[in-house]
Symmetry: none
Subunit: 198 residues, 4 copies
DNA sequence: GATGAATGAGATTTCATTCAT
DNA sequence: TATGAATGAAATCTCATTCAT
């Protein structure tokens, strides 16, 4: 019966924000920047538009937060991958089996970095985050190690990482779009692309 | 003095339509359905919005025409590829080196089929065109042949075609987005994916 | 084989103008001022928009011509009615059996005079034509005569003419709209209204 | 400080909607479907276009609501008329003296059902509402009763109701259009039409 | 914090009108 | 005279954002 403590308020608030961001991620990743309406996010999250604007000054600021989180989570994902036991190939396999939220983060990042419909300002911010996160560069040693072990095919590791990201993004996009009329591609193609083995 | 003949009108019209469609293709393929403003197309094509509506009843009808053309052109592209000399692998290489317009057609088709921001009606139409075009099915024999010749890695040919399209689309999207800060992926990964050879 | 003479040109021209006006009348009377597109008139008349604008400077000028003709034709109709044999009641009956074109003229006039969607300028012009035509005033003596003969019910003849026009217009509008689901009203109600007899 | 309660929001909304519908009714009834600009409604109601679209998805949906209300109100009007004391003739007289809002509802209904400028979809909806409302059929018994009492002239009651509606609509339209230069018709003509008496 | 009413800028669409040939 | 290409103003509609309570 006693009023909620400050701490409890904070918890409620944090939980709600987490909920909003989760819904936002799902929608932005699927529908793209312009296709996403804040009103949709609000109603899917079960709150009012007003409250959304109470937490975030604008659509762009909201997306910026998502981008920030996305890159942060992907960094963590890569760290975990590194720390997991196994050969480089086994480590990479685990990325393909990302849980859904991480797939969405990955898609969001890829989309913001590449899609022409995102405002330049956000693309620039995303690029800075991305570059400073060294998300890309951190992958390179893994590939080198794999090449040294003979697990991976030879070639410029930078280009291979770039290709890996591109293909991974394509696969994840198709994964979301679960249309029965289209045949789902085989994730093993990605592995084959890396290993150069049937 | 004398009025324009029907033939002359047709020429003017055909030229304009070609011009508008070419601009539209470029913009739709890059910016997606919602990201594409008809005013942008009009001004890029150096005409008024009104004229666009003189030729096409709506944004959707315009995109429908583009989709139709896209699938038609891609069908032709595949036919040409089949008729070109060389092994299946050599034939497929030529698809990777599509000229820019064909790349745009490819991207447009992939995007319309898969992106959530395209109106359902158009997606349905695109799907029908795509399925009836047998764009997909026509590729399968080529892969089978390649597998028999030992050029390609084994595996369900349907899944391989699907993967091939996905990856090709990803590569083409990156190709357009010629951002110097990002390393361009290596088109050979696609070949490696197919052949299972380094 | 010899070129058409000036006279023949004039005939072609006149015939075409008559055709255009006839189509325009039909459409304006049915669809109203804003509902009528010049492009519709042109295509229904089998000519180009350009030619329509060659004959008439604007939509309003075109309608003005129609109004002018309408009132002229209605004047003639009333004259004919006067000159036809029979009692005042029998004369009025003939108005109810107007041929279709006259019904359209009647509707057009009524609509332009009363509908709010017609530009003020045109309404003013129509009103002037209408008042100077004495279309209204010419009817009054007929009603007076009918009242004297005991054929018509008593009452202010001006108000009766006004009612007569209103009801006639309503009947004609329903006449055009030949919708099977609605019961067509009985033209005899109009007569009964005038005569005060069952 | 404290947020508005659901109840308060409902009040604001209801008030606004009532206001918008009232303005809309006035304008649609006078100017017809195409003649009515949403910007006019908005500015007459003292609100922004945006707010109109906040409450109604489209011009058509807005008109649909009006039609729905119109038929509902007219049904009530007819019920009241039935329950009012007096002979059938006296009851009908009360319809002629409808208050302004009901006149507008009557005109709106008549117009939507008959005018060619209203989109077919809306006409169909209006027709369904109208037929299922039995607005028409409910009048018939009254006329029969009047005929039995000798108050009304003989004739097919269906056709008489139809005529009654037509003439009533014409009278109401003229009533709105309060143009001093035109003589207003006499509502008694309508009564005379029914009774067949001077 | 929380709501949804309200706005306004900008996108899509329509159509009377002009114009080159 | 005759065409339909082309324009631009104005209408419908969408949605990010603000605001009173």
């Amino acid at each position: 019966m006693s009023p909620l403590s400050e701490e409890q308020f904070k918890q409620i608030r944090d939980k709600r924000i987490e909920q909003i961001l989760s819904v936002g991620l799902k929608i932005f990743a699927r529908k793209g920047y312009i296709g996403t309406k804040l009103s949709t996010i609000a109603s899917e999250a079960g709150i009012s538009k007003g409250l959304l604007y109470h937490y975030y000054k604008s659509k762009d600021e909201f997306l910026e937060t998502l981008i920030h989180n996305a890159i942060h989570e992907l960094e963590n994902g890569i760290k975990e991958m590194y720390q997991s036991p196994g050969t480089p190939l086994e480590k990479l396999r685990s990325m393909i089996e990302f849980k859904e939220e991480d797939q969405l983060y990955f898609l969001l990042t890829h989309q913001v970095l590449l899609s022409d419909e995102v405002p330049d300002k956000l693309k620039r911010i995303a690029k800075e985050h991305f570059l400073s996160s060294q998300l890309f560069d951190q992958m390179v040693p893994l590939f080198k190690e794999g090449q040294e072990l003979g697990e991976f095919a030879p070639g410029d590791p930078n280009k291979i990482v770039s290709s890996f990201f591109t293909v991974l993004s394509g696969l994840m996009a198709l994964n979301l779009n679960n249309d029965e009329e289209f045949i789902q591609p085989d994730p093993n193609v990605l592995i084959r692309m890396l290993t150069g083995r049937p």
